[in-house]
Symmetry: C2
Subunit: 181 residues, 2 copies
């Protein structure tokens, strides 16, 4: 299987921000030609498919500036430097939803936008949930609305666009599959 590697000729960091970094690379293509690649570096994130004992999916509504609207997503958050993704996931679930899970398992990792970004999301499944008495507080610039929805409700929300992001769309199909078993 040929790997079509693109060799880096030059690399320039144009922005180094709080969350993302912008880099433009000059690359040599497999045929010897040159091309530019605009690349975003991101610390990576986790997301949690949290299911209540009533088989409802735990969701958070949040304003997303990039989209200029609120959308409804599974709980998620960025990985802090050096933090183990599973710890991030346990922390984010508590901060965003007030839940702790007695069953916590790794599901899958994927890149969200491999065409320009290195962001990878690690997905976890949380079951046997318990409300924490005094949950850890989340980021102070996060404003979140919590809700718990049946699989039928989440499918409706996918259709009308309230659910509108890749990880949550994956979670809805994953849950549907899981509940069939």
């Amino acid at each position: 299987m040929k790997k079509f590697e693109e060799r880096t000729i030059a690399s320039e960091t144009l922005y180094n921000g709080k969350i993302i970094e912008l880099r433009v690379d000059d690359v040599e293509l497999p045929d010897g030609k040159r091309a530019k690649r605009e690349l975003i570096k991101h610390p990576g994130a986790v997301a949690i498919i949290a299911i209540t004992d009533q088989n409802e999916l735990v969701l958070v509504e949040q304003f997303r500036k990039a989209l200029e609207r609120s959308i409804i997503e599974i709980p998620a958050g960025k990985i802090e430097p050096g933090e183990d993704p599973e710890k991030t996931a346990i922390r984010e679930l508590e901060e965003e939803t007030g839940y702790r899970a007695n069953e916590f398992t790794y599901v899958q990792s994927f890149a969200t936008s491999p065409g320009f970004a290195d962001e990878i999301i690690h997905l976890y499944l949380a079951r046997s949930l318990e409300k924490v008495e005094n949950p850890a507080a989340g980021d102070e610039d996060e404003f979140i609305n919590l809700q718990e929805c049946t699989i039928e409700e989440t499918e409706e929300m996918m259709k009308d666009g309230r659910i509108f992001d890749a990880k949550t769309a994956f979670a809805v199909l994953f849950l549907k599959e899981l509940l069939k078993k």
Copy 2:
């Protein structure tokens, strides 16, 4: 349902590239405090869940500079300015795979990274495929390996990381669901 809107106080474009644009916004949060939002503007993309008459998923292997490796994905491509997403999808399917579909239907749209990017992927389902005699050529900086895989093979590829992006992970679950019916 509160929308938690973040009002833009100031907006600065720091990079305007061939594919992406980087903007940093100062926003006012619902509690009156201020925050910075690092935002990537992207033209949007399409992706195609193309299924052969043998119920195999059409996949392309491609080197992704952002990840510094090759991954196996469903066919996809950026929307050209003013182009109708369905036309983009028909064009990309032909360019990347040499297939034209007699059945072409819209499935779903989702944002890939709503935390920092406005990229939206429009997903289409292509069935009743036919090989085109002289397919249109793709981008000259794209090097692609075509393959067709059963649902069991794609699940194996998700497990071992050859399939490693959100849209293709969604497509695998979608196909599994579809073939059950």
